[in-house]
Amino acid sequence: MLKISIDKLSALYDAIAANNELILPVRKAGVVDYASYEEGADVAIDTLKTAKSPKNAFFPQFETLYNVNKKIIPTDASAEEGACEGAGVALRSTLSVEMAPLVDKDFVIFGIKPCDVKGIEVLDNVFLAEPVDNFYKARRDHGILVTMACNEPEESCFCSAFGIDAADPSKAKADVAVWMADGNLYWKAISPKGEALTESVKSVFEDSDEAAVEATKASIEGILAKLPNANLSLDMWGKGVLDDRFYSPVWDEIFKPCLACGTCTFVCPTCQCYDIKDYTTKDGIQRYRCWDSCMYSDFTMMAHGNNRNSQKERFRQRFMHKLSYYPDKNDGMFSCVGCGRCVDKCPQSLNIVKVIKAFEASKAKEGQA
Protein backbone atom coordinates (compact mmCIF):
# COMPACT_ATOMS: atom_id res chain seq x y z
CA MET A 1 0.00 0.00 0.00
CA LEU A 2 1.13 3.51 -0.90
CA LYS A 3 0.24 6.85 0.58
CA ILE A 4 0.47 10.56 -0.20
CA SER A 5 -0.39 13.51 1.97
CA ILE A 6 -3.66 15.16 1.04
CA ASP A 7 -1.80 18.50 0.81
CA LYS A 8 0.24 17.05 -2.04
CA LEU A 9 -2.65 15.62 -4.05
CA SER A 10 -2.06 18.05 -6.87
CA ALA A 11 1.31 16.40 -7.45
CA LEU A 12 -0.50 13.09 -7.87
CA TYR A 13 -3.00 14.67 -10.24
CA ASP A 14 -0.21 16.19 -12.28
CA ALA A 15 1.60 12.87 -12.38
CA ILE A 16 -1.50 11.05 -13.62
CA ALA A 17 -2.40 13.81 -16.06
CA ALA A 18 1.09 13.66 -17.57
CA ASN A 19 0.23 10.45 -19.43
CA ASN A 20 -3.54 10.21 -19.25
CA GLU A 21 -6.58 12.35 -19.42
CA LEU A 22 -7.62 12.76 -15.78
CA ILE A 23 -11.31 12.97 -14.94
CA LEU A 24 -12.32 13.79 -11.39
CA PRO A 25 -14.98 15.70 -9.44
CA VAL A 26 -14.81 19.40 -10.32
CA ARG A 27 -16.96 22.20 -9.00
CA LYS A 28 -18.44 24.41 -11.70
CA ALA A 29 -21.03 27.13 -11.04
CA GLY A 30 -21.75 25.55 -7.66
CA VAL A 31 -22.27 22.01 -8.88
CA VAL A 32 -19.76 19.16 -8.67
CA ASP A 33 -19.55 16.80 -11.61
CA TYR A 34 -16.84 14.65 -13.14
CA ALA A 35 -14.79 16.76 -15.50
CA SER A 36 -11.34 16.97 -16.98
CA TYR A 37 -8.49 18.06 -14.76
CA GLU A 38 -7.54 21.36 -16.37
CA GLU A 39 -5.70 24.39 -15.22
CA GLY A 40 -7.79 26.28 -12.70
CA ALA A 41 -10.18 23.37 -12.17
CA ASP A 42 -11.83 23.55 -8.75
CA VAL A 43 -11.26 19.93 -7.72
CA ALA A 44 -13.73 18.73 -5.07
CA ILE A 45 -12.32 15.30 -4.30
CA ASP A 46 -14.16 14.97 -1.01
CA THR A 47 -17.54 15.12 -2.75
CA LEU A 48 -19.64 12.10 -1.83
CA LYS A 49 -22.08 12.39 -4.70
CA THR A 50 -21.51 14.25 -7.90
CA ALA A 51 -24.72 15.57 -9.45
CA LYS A 52 -24.38 13.33 -12.49
CA SER A 53 -22.84 9.90 -12.30
CA PRO A 54 -19.48 9.22 -13.97
CA LYS A 55 -21.12 7.04 -16.62
CA ASN A 56 -20.76 10.03 -18.93
CA ALA A 57 -17.11 9.07 -19.32
CA PHE A 58 -18.01 5.77 -20.97
CA PHE A 59 -21.46 6.46 -22.30
CA PRO A 60 -21.61 10.19 -22.95
CA GLN A 61 -24.91 12.00 -22.97
CA PHE A 62 -24.22 13.01 -26.54
CA GLU A 63 -21.86 11.42 -29.02
CA THR A 64 -21.49 11.51 -32.76
CA LEU A 65 -21.55 8.15 -34.50
CA TYR A 66 -20.79 9.23 -38.02
CA ASN A 67 -21.14 12.05 -40.51
CA VAL A 68 -22.53 11.85 -44.00
CA ASN A 69 -21.37 14.56 -46.34
CA LYS A 70 -22.58 15.44 -49.78
CA LYS A 71 -20.26 17.10 -52.22
CA ILE A 72 -20.85 18.40 -55.69
CA ILE A 73 -17.88 17.85 -57.92
CA PRO A 74 -17.11 18.07 -61.65
CA THR A 75 -17.98 14.88 -63.54
CA ASP A 76 -14.44 14.28 -64.62
CA ALA A 77 -13.33 13.94 -61.03
CA SER A 78 -13.49 10.45 -59.63
CA ALA A 79 -16.87 9.96 -58.04
CA GLU A 80 -18.33 7.11 -56.09
CA GLU A 81 -21.96 7.75 -56.79
CA GLY A 82 -23.93 9.08 -59.70
CA ALA A 83 -25.72 12.36 -60.07
CA CYS A 84 -29.46 12.78 -60.17
CA GLU A 85 -31.57 12.28 -63.22
CA GLY A 86 -30.65 14.41 -66.18
CA ALA A 87 -27.06 13.30 -66.35
CA GLY A 88 -24.78 14.69 -68.96
CA VAL A 89 -24.25 17.79 -66.94
CA ALA A 90 -20.86 18.96 -65.86
CA LEU A 91 -21.39 18.24 -62.19
CA ARG A 92 -22.28 15.29 -60.07
CA SER A 93 -22.81 14.71 -56.39
CA THR A 94 -21.00 12.31 -54.10
CA LEU A 95 -21.72 11.04 -50.63
CA SER A 96 -19.05 10.24 -48.10
CA VAL A 97 -19.50 8.56 -44.75
CA GLU A 98 -17.06 9.43 -42.04
CA MET A 99 -17.10 7.39 -38.86
CA ALA A 100 -16.51 9.17 -35.60
CA PRO A 101 -13.11 8.17 -34.21
CA LEU A 102 -12.97 5.71 -31.34
CA VAL A 103 -11.26 6.71 -28.12
CA ASP A 104 -7.64 5.58 -28.36
CA LYS A 105 -5.99 7.27 -25.39
CA ASP A 106 -5.98 6.15 -21.79
CA PHE A 107 -7.93 8.15 -19.28
CA VAL A 108 -8.26 7.89 -15.54
CA ILE A 109 -11.39 8.43 -13.52
CA PHE A 110 -10.23 9.41 -10.11
CA GLY A 111 -12.38 9.21 -7.00
CA ILE A 112 -15.18 7.11 -8.44
CA LYS A 113 -17.24 5.59 -5.64
CA PRO A 114 -17.84 1.84 -5.34
CA CYS A 115 -21.53 2.24 -6.24
CA ASP A 116 -20.64 4.01 -9.47
CA VAL A 117 -18.12 1.30 -10.29
CA LYS A 118 -20.92 -1.18 -9.92
CA GLY A 119 -22.98 1.05 -12.19
CA ILE A 120 -20.38 0.61 -14.91
CA GLU A 121 -20.63 -3.13 -14.43
CA VAL A 122 -24.33 -2.81 -15.12
CA LEU A 123 -23.58 -0.94 -18.34
CA ASP A 124 -20.98 -3.54 -19.35
CA ASN A 125 -23.64 -6.22 -19.38
CA VAL A 126 -25.52 -4.19 -21.94
CA PHE A 127 -22.88 -2.63 -24.10
CA LEU A 128 -20.24 -5.35 -24.08
CA ALA A 129 -22.70 -8.15 -24.79
CA GLU A 130 -23.08 -9.11 -28.42
CA PRO A 131 -23.35 -7.06 -30.51
CA VAL A 132 -20.56 -5.16 -28.82
CA ASP A 133 -20.86 -1.39 -28.79
CA ASN A 134 -17.52 -0.27 -30.22
CA PHE A 135 -17.72 3.24 -28.89
CA TYR A 136 -18.34 1.99 -25.37
CA LYS A 137 -15.78 -0.77 -25.59
CA ALA A 138 -13.04 1.58 -26.74
CA ARG A 139 -13.69 3.79 -23.74
CA ARG A 140 -13.79 0.83 -21.38
CA ASP A 141 -10.53 -0.47 -22.77
CA HIS A 142 -8.84 2.84 -22.22
CA GLY A 143 -10.53 3.86 -18.98
CA ILE A 144 -8.76 3.31 -15.66
CA LEU A 145 -10.90 3.46 -12.54
CA VAL A 146 -9.47 4.76 -9.30
CA THR A 147 -12.17 4.06 -6.78
CA MET A 148 -12.42 5.70 -3.40
CA ALA A 149 -14.02 4.66 -0.14
CA CYS A 150 -16.96 6.76 1.07
CA ASN A 151 -15.82 8.25 4.34
CA GLU A 152 -19.10 9.89 5.22
CA PRO A 153 -22.03 8.07 3.63
CA GLU A 154 -25.32 9.85 3.77
CA GLU A 155 -28.91 9.00 4.50
CA SER A 156 -29.78 8.70 0.82
CA CYS A 157 -27.16 5.97 0.29
CA PHE A 158 -28.39 2.38 0.13
CA CYS A 159 -25.61 0.64 -1.74
CA SER A 160 -25.28 -2.03 0.90
CA ALA A 161 -28.67 -3.35 -0.16
CA PHE A 162 -26.97 -4.32 -3.42
CA GLY A 163 -23.96 -5.88 -1.76
CA ILE A 164 -21.65 -2.98 -2.41
CA ASP A 165 -19.04 -2.20 0.19
CA ALA A 166 -18.53 1.52 0.46
CA ALA A 167 -15.84 0.97 3.07
CA ASP A 168 -13.68 -1.27 0.97
CA PRO A 169 -13.29 -0.18 -2.62
CA SER A 170 -10.73 -2.88 -3.23
CA LYS A 171 -13.69 -5.24 -3.62
CA ALA A 172 -14.96 -3.22 -6.55
CA LYS A 173 -14.25 -4.15 -10.16
CA ALA A 174 -11.86 -1.27 -10.54
CA ASP A 175 -8.16 -0.75 -11.11
CA VAL A 176 -6.99 1.13 -8.05
CA ALA A 177 -8.61 1.46 -4.65
CA VAL A 178 -7.98 4.55 -2.53
CA TRP A 179 -8.94 5.74 0.96
CA MET A 180 -8.68 9.09 2.60
CA ALA A 181 -7.52 8.65 6.16
CA ASP A 182 -5.67 10.70 8.76
CA GLY A 183 -4.60 13.37 6.29
CA ASN A 184 -3.33 10.96 3.67
CA LEU A 185 -4.58 9.28 0.58
CA TYR A 186 -3.87 5.56 0.58
CA TRP A 187 -3.43 3.86 -2.77
CA LYS A 188 -3.63 0.19 -3.69
CA ALA A 189 -3.60 -1.27 -7.18
CA ILE A 190 -6.20 -3.99 -7.61
CA SER A 191 -5.82 -4.92 -11.29
CA PRO A 192 -3.01 -5.16 -13.85
CA LYS A 193 -4.18 -1.86 -15.37
CA GLY A 194 -4.03 -0.39 -11.91
CA GLU A 195 -0.56 -1.73 -11.37
CA ALA A 196 0.65 -0.18 -14.59
CA LEU A 197 -0.81 3.15 -13.55
CA THR A 198 0.76 2.82 -10.12
CA GLU A 199 4.09 2.18 -11.75
CA SER A 200 3.87 5.38 -13.77
CA VAL A 201 3.05 7.60 -10.80
CA LYS A 202 4.94 5.77 -8.09
CA SER A 203 7.42 8.56 -7.53
CA VAL A 204 4.87 10.77 -5.74
CA PHE A 205 4.03 8.12 -3.15
CA GLU A 206 5.66 6.73 -0.11
CA ASP A 207 5.10 3.22 1.20
CA SER A 208 2.69 2.64 4.02
CA ASP A 209 1.09 -0.03 6.15
CA GLU A 210 -2.69 -0.58 6.22
CA ALA A 211 -3.43 0.46 9.79
CA ALA A 212 -5.03 3.81 9.04
CA VAL A 213 -7.07 2.27 6.24
CA GLU A 214 -8.35 -0.48 8.48
CA ALA A 215 -9.43 2.08 11.06
CA THR A 216 -11.26 4.10 8.44
CA LYS A 217 -12.96 0.99 7.07
CA ALA A 218 -14.22 0.17 10.53
CA SER A 219 -15.52 3.69 11.05
CA ILE A 220 -17.31 3.64 7.68
CA GLU A 221 -18.85 0.27 8.39
CA GLY A 222 -20.19 1.67 11.62
CA ILE A 223 -21.93 4.49 9.81
CA LEU A 224 -23.18 2.24 7.00
CA ALA A 225 -24.97 0.08 9.54
CA LYS A 226 -26.79 3.13 10.88
CA LEU A 227 -28.03 4.37 7.48
CA PRO A 228 -31.82 4.43 7.39
CA ASN A 229 -31.98 2.29 4.27
CA ALA A 230 -29.10 0.02 5.08
CA ASN A 231 -31.44 -2.93 5.26
CA LEU A 232 -33.75 -2.03 2.43
CA SER A 233 -35.45 -5.26 1.53
CA LEU A 234 -35.30 -6.38 -2.07
CA ASP A 235 -37.15 -9.60 -1.37
CA MET A 236 -39.95 -8.76 -3.72
CA TRP A 237 -37.61 -8.11 -6.64
CA GLY A 238 -35.13 -9.89 -8.80
CA LYS A 239 -35.63 -12.77 -11.20
CA GLY A 240 -39.04 -14.17 -12.02
CA VAL A 241 -41.28 -11.57 -10.45
CA LEU A 242 -42.34 -9.84 -13.64
CA ASP A 243 -46.00 -10.79 -13.88
CA ASP A 244 -46.79 -10.24 -10.22
CA ARG A 245 -45.19 -6.86 -9.97
CA PHE A 246 -46.24 -5.67 -13.41
CA TYR A 247 -49.93 -5.93 -12.64
CA SER A 248 -49.67 -4.68 -9.07
CA PRO A 249 -52.20 -2.00 -8.09
CA VAL A 250 -49.40 -0.10 -6.33
CA TRP A 251 -48.50 1.53 -9.65
CA ASP A 252 -51.98 3.07 -9.97
CA GLU A 253 -51.36 5.72 -7.34
CA ILE A 254 -47.64 5.98 -6.83
CA PHE A 255 -46.80 7.44 -10.25
CA LYS A 256 -49.17 10.37 -9.87
CA PRO A 257 -46.74 13.04 -8.68
CA CYS A 258 -44.21 12.03 -11.35
CA LEU A 259 -43.47 15.00 -13.60
CA ALA A 260 -42.24 12.83 -16.44
CA CYS A 261 -38.95 14.67 -16.39
CA GLY A 262 -35.73 12.83 -16.97
CA THR A 263 -33.87 13.86 -13.83
CA CYS A 264 -33.71 10.39 -12.27
CA THR A 265 -32.64 8.88 -15.56
CA PHE A 266 -29.95 11.41 -16.32
CA VAL A 267 -28.35 11.34 -12.87
CA CYS A 268 -28.54 7.54 -12.70
CA PRO A 269 -25.29 5.58 -13.08
CA THR A 270 -27.07 2.62 -14.66
CA CYS A 271 -29.68 4.02 -17.01
CA GLN A 272 -28.52 3.06 -20.44
CA CYS A 273 -31.27 3.96 -22.91
CA TYR A 274 -30.39 6.16 -25.79
CA ASP A 275 -31.91 7.58 -28.92
CA ILE A 276 -30.26 7.94 -32.30
CA LYS A 277 -30.98 11.06 -34.27
CA ASP A 278 -29.80 12.95 -37.29
CA TYR A 279 -28.74 16.54 -37.24
CA THR A 280 -28.78 18.29 -40.59
CA THR A 281 -25.43 19.94 -41.06
CA LYS A 282 -24.24 22.21 -43.81
CA ASP A 283 -23.82 19.56 -46.48
CA GLY A 284 -25.15 16.42 -44.93
CA ILE A 285 -26.18 14.91 -41.66
CA GLN A 286 -24.53 14.07 -38.41
CA ARG A 287 -25.86 10.89 -36.87
CA TYR A 288 -25.58 11.02 -33.15
CA ARG A 289 -26.87 9.25 -30.12
CA CYS A 290 -27.97 10.83 -26.91
CA TRP A 291 -29.42 9.63 -23.66
CA ASP A 292 -33.11 9.03 -23.67
CA SER A 293 -35.43 8.64 -20.76
CA CYS A 294 -38.24 6.16 -20.41
CA MET A 295 -40.05 8.92 -18.52
CA TYR A 296 -40.39 10.94 -21.73
CA SER A 297 -43.57 10.82 -23.73
CA ASP A 298 -41.69 10.19 -26.96
CA PHE A 299 -39.57 7.34 -25.59
CA THR A 300 -39.55 4.45 -28.06
CA MET A 301 -41.94 6.37 -30.26
CA MET A 302 -42.75 4.48 -33.39
CA ALA A 303 -44.54 5.31 -36.58
CA HIS A 304 -47.83 4.09 -35.21
CA GLY A 305 -47.37 5.99 -32.00
CA ASN A 306 -46.14 4.97 -28.59
CA ASN A 307 -46.55 1.64 -26.87
CA ARG A 308 -46.53 3.23 -23.41
CA ASN A 309 -49.08 5.96 -23.57
CA SER A 310 -49.64 6.85 -19.94
CA GLN A 311 -47.23 8.15 -17.38
CA LYS A 312 -48.10 5.19 -15.19
CA GLU A 313 -46.79 2.83 -17.85
CA ARG A 314 -43.66 4.91 -18.36
CA PHE A 315 -43.05 5.16 -14.62
CA ARG A 316 -43.53 1.44 -14.21
CA GLN A 317 -41.13 0.78 -17.07
CA ARG A 318 -38.26 2.49 -15.28
CA PHE A 319 -38.60 0.60 -12.02
CA MET A 320 -39.56 -2.73 -13.54
CA HIS A 321 -36.50 -2.45 -15.77
CA LYS A 322 -34.19 -1.82 -12.85
CA LEU A 323 -35.67 -4.35 -10.47
CA SER A 324 -37.16 -7.07 -12.65
CA TYR A 325 -36.35 -7.08 -16.39
CA TYR A 326 -32.67 -6.46 -15.97
CA PRO A 327 -32.25 -9.06 -13.20
CA ASP A 328 -34.18 -11.54 -15.35
CA LYS A 329 -31.63 -11.19 -18.11
CA ASN A 330 -28.53 -10.79 -15.95
CA ASP A 331 -28.68 -13.58 -13.45
CA GLY A 332 -30.41 -11.62 -10.76
CA MET A 333 -28.17 -8.58 -10.89
CA PHE A 334 -30.13 -5.39 -10.21
CA SER A 335 -29.81 -2.37 -12.40
CA CYS A 336 -29.69 -0.11 -9.36
CA VAL A 337 -26.62 0.44 -7.22
CA GLY A 338 -28.12 2.47 -4.39
CA CYS A 339 -26.13 5.63 -5.10
CA GLY A 340 -29.17 7.66 -4.02
CA ARG A 341 -28.82 10.40 -6.62
CA CYS A 342 -32.46 10.05 -7.64
CA VAL A 343 -33.37 10.22 -3.95
CA ASP A 344 -31.60 13.57 -3.71
CA LYS A 345 -32.61 14.98 -7.05
CA CYS A 346 -36.19 13.99 -7.82
CA PRO A 347 -38.15 17.26 -7.94
CA GLN A 348 -41.13 15.53 -6.41
CA SER A 349 -39.17 13.46 -3.85
CA LEU A 350 -40.29 10.32 -5.56
CA ASN A 351 -37.65 7.63 -6.00
CA ILE A 352 -36.79 3.99 -6.20
CA VAL A 353 -36.60 3.63 -2.41
CA LYS A 354 -40.16 4.87 -2.08
CA VAL A 355 -41.27 2.46 -4.79
CA ILE A 356 -39.59 -0.49 -3.08
CA LYS A 357 -41.06 0.51 0.28
CA ALA A 358 -44.52 1.01 -1.22
CA PHE A 359 -44.46 -2.56 -2.47
CA GLU A 360 -43.31 -3.81 0.92
CA ALA A 361 -46.10 -1.88 2.60
CA SER A 362 -48.66 -3.25 0.21
CA LYS A 363 -47.46 -6.77 0.87
CA ALA A 364 -47.63 -6.18 4.62
CA LYS A 365 -51.17 -4.91 4.22
CA GLU A 366 -52.14 -7.96 2.20
CA GLY A 367 -50.64 -10.11 4.90
CA GLN A 368 -52.81 -8.42 7.51
CA ALA A 369 -55.94 -8.81 5.46
Binding site: Y279, T281, K282, Q286
Partner: protein, 146 residues
Protein backbone atom coordinates in the same frame (compact mmCIF):
# COMPACT_ATOMS: atom_id res chain seq x y z
CA UNK B 1 -15.54 32.82 -41.14
CA UNK B 2 -16.90 33.37 -44.65
CA UNK B 3 -14.56 35.82 -46.32
CA UNK B 4 -14.67 37.19 -49.83
CA UNK B 5 -11.61 39.11 -50.98
CA UNK B 6 -10.45 39.43 -47.41
CA UNK B 7 -13.73 40.94 -46.29
CA UNK B 8 -16.14 39.34 -43.81
CA UNK B 9 -19.43 38.59 -45.55
CA UNK B 10 -22.18 38.03 -43.01
CA UNK B 11 -25.20 35.79 -43.49
CA UNK B 12 -28.30 37.86 -43.06
CA UNK B 13 -31.88 36.66 -43.02
CA UNK B 14 -34.62 39.19 -43.63
CA UNK B 15 -38.22 38.28 -42.90
CA UNK B 16 -40.41 40.57 -44.99
CA UNK B 17 -44.15 40.77 -44.85
CA UNK B 18 -45.84 40.12 -48.14
CA UNK B 19 -47.85 43.32 -48.25
CA UNK B 20 -45.46 46.09 -47.35
CA UNK B 21 -41.83 45.19 -46.91
CA UNK B 22 -41.60 42.49 -49.55
CA UNK B 23 -43.11 45.06 -51.90
CA UNK B 24 -40.59 47.59 -50.63
CA UNK B 25 -37.83 45.14 -51.50
CA UNK B 26 -39.39 44.62 -54.93
CA UNK B 27 -39.50 48.37 -55.42
CA UNK B 28 -35.86 48.67 -54.39
CA UNK B 29 -35.20 46.02 -57.02
CA UNK B 30 -37.17 47.59 -59.82
CA UNK B 31 -35.58 50.94 -58.94
CA UNK B 32 -32.15 49.25 -59.10
CA UNK B 33 -31.36 50.35 -55.56
CA UNK B 34 -28.43 48.17 -54.66
CA UNK B 35 -27.70 46.64 -51.27
CA UNK B 36 -25.35 43.82 -50.29
CA UNK B 37 -26.07 40.32 -51.57
CA UNK B 38 -25.57 39.07 -48.01
CA UNK B 39 -29.23 39.81 -47.37
CA UNK B 40 -31.61 36.97 -48.23
CA UNK B 41 -35.29 37.59 -47.95
CA UNK B 42 -37.93 35.18 -46.68
CA UNK B 43 -41.49 36.10 -47.55
CA UNK B 44 -43.99 35.84 -44.73
CA UNK B 45 -47.61 36.96 -44.87
CA UNK B 46 -47.17 39.33 -41.96
CA UNK B 47 -44.51 40.35 -39.47
CA UNK B 48 -46.89 38.88 -36.90
CA UNK B 49 -46.22 35.48 -38.48
CA UNK B 50 -42.60 35.51 -37.38
CA UNK B 51 -42.13 33.08 -34.56
CA UNK B 52 -39.19 33.89 -32.25
CA UNK B 53 -38.11 30.33 -32.88
CA UNK B 54 -37.37 31.23 -36.53
CA UNK B 55 -34.96 33.91 -35.41
CA UNK B 56 -33.10 31.70 -32.97
CA UNK B 57 -33.07 28.95 -35.54
CA UNK B 58 -31.42 31.26 -38.04
CA UNK B 59 -28.73 32.15 -35.53
CA UNK B 60 -28.28 28.53 -34.58
CA UNK B 61 -27.79 27.66 -38.21
CA UNK B 62 -25.14 30.28 -38.66
CA UNK B 63 -26.88 33.54 -39.50
CA UNK B 64 -24.98 36.61 -38.34
CA UNK B 65 -27.96 38.93 -38.35
CA UNK B 66 -31.73 38.68 -38.56
CA UNK B 67 -34.02 41.54 -39.52
CA UNK B 68 -37.78 41.59 -39.52
CA UNK B 69 -39.56 44.06 -41.77
CA UNK B 70 -43.27 44.75 -41.67
CA UNK B 71 -45.88 47.35 -42.46
CA UNK B 72 -45.73 50.56 -40.47
CA UNK B 73 -47.74 50.42 -37.25
CA UNK B 74 -51.30 51.22 -38.21
CA UNK B 75 -50.84 49.99 -41.78
CA UNK B 76 -50.81 46.26 -41.21
CA UNK B 77 -52.67 44.49 -43.96
CA UNK B 78 -54.19 42.38 -41.23
CA UNK B 79 -54.77 45.39 -38.99
CA UNK B 80 -52.84 44.27 -35.94
CA UNK B 81 -50.17 41.72 -36.81
CA UNK B 82 -47.26 44.12 -36.56
CA UNK B 83 -48.35 45.33 -33.13
CA UNK B 84 -48.00 41.80 -31.76
CA UNK B 85 -44.73 41.41 -33.65
CA UNK B 86 -43.48 44.61 -32.07
CA UNK B 87 -44.07 43.30 -28.57
CA UNK B 88 -42.69 39.85 -29.29
CA UNK B 89 -39.55 41.17 -30.86
CA UNK B 90 -38.95 43.81 -28.22
CA UNK B 91 -39.04 41.16 -25.52
CA UNK B 92 -37.01 38.66 -27.51
CA UNK B 93 -34.31 41.19 -28.39
CA UNK B 94 -34.15 42.28 -24.80
CA UNK B 95 -33.65 38.67 -23.73
CA UNK B 96 -30.89 38.16 -26.28
CA UNK B 97 -29.19 41.28 -25.01
CA UNK B 98 -29.59 39.98 -21.46
CA UNK B 99 -27.83 36.70 -22.15
CA UNK B 100 -24.95 38.53 -23.74
CA UNK B 101 -25.66 38.49 -27.44
CA UNK B 102 -24.18 41.54 -29.09
CA UNK B 103 -26.65 44.27 -29.78
CA UNK B 104 -27.34 44.95 -33.38
CA UNK B 105 -27.61 41.42 -34.68
CA UNK B 106 -31.36 41.77 -34.59
CA UNK B 107 -33.52 44.54 -35.87
CA UNK B 108 -37.11 45.38 -36.69
CA UNK B 109 -37.88 47.98 -39.31
CA UNK B 110 -41.18 49.12 -40.74
CA UNK B 111 -40.93 49.48 -44.51
CA UNK B 112 -43.92 50.17 -46.73
CA UNK B 113 -44.32 48.92 -50.28
CA UNK B 114 -43.55 52.45 -51.45
CA UNK B 115 -40.30 52.70 -49.53
CA UNK B 116 -37.77 51.13 -51.83
CA UNK B 117 -35.26 53.74 -50.78
CA UNK B 118 -35.81 53.04 -47.12
CA UNK B 119 -35.49 49.33 -47.75
CA UNK B 120 -32.13 49.86 -49.37
CA UNK B 121 -30.92 52.23 -46.68
CA UNK B 122 -32.07 49.87 -43.92
CA UNK B 123 -30.31 46.89 -45.43
CA UNK B 124 -27.11 48.84 -46.03
CA UNK B 125 -27.09 50.05 -42.47
CA UNK B 126 -27.91 46.65 -41.04
CA UNK B 127 -25.25 44.86 -43.06
CA UNK B 128 -22.68 47.44 -41.97
CA UNK B 129 -23.67 46.98 -38.36
CA UNK B 130 -23.49 43.19 -38.50
CA UNK B 131 -20.16 43.38 -40.32
CA UNK B 132 -18.82 45.53 -37.55
CA UNK B 133 -19.89 42.90 -35.02
CA UNK B 134 -18.22 40.13 -36.97
CA UNK B 135 -19.20 36.52 -37.07
CA UNK B 136 -21.90 35.28 -34.75
CA UNK B 137 -20.05 32.89 -32.49
CA UNK B 138 -22.18 33.14 -29.39
CA UNK B 139 -25.39 31.79 -30.84
CA UNK B 140 -24.27 29.41 -33.54
CA UNK B 141 -24.26 25.67 -33.37
CA UNK B 142 -20.79 24.32 -33.97
CA UNK B 143 -22.23 21.51 -36.01
CA UNK B 144 -23.37 23.97 -38.67
CA UNK B 145 -19.93 25.41 -39.26
CA UNK B 146 -17.78 24.56 -42.22
Amino acid sequence: MPMINGEFRPKIVAFCCNWCSYGGADLAGSSRLSYPADVKIIRVPCSGRVNPMFILRAFERGADGVIICGCHPGDCHYSTGNYYARRRMTLLFSMLEYIGIENGRTRVEWVSAAEGVKFQATMNEFVDKVKSLGENVRLGDLRCKD
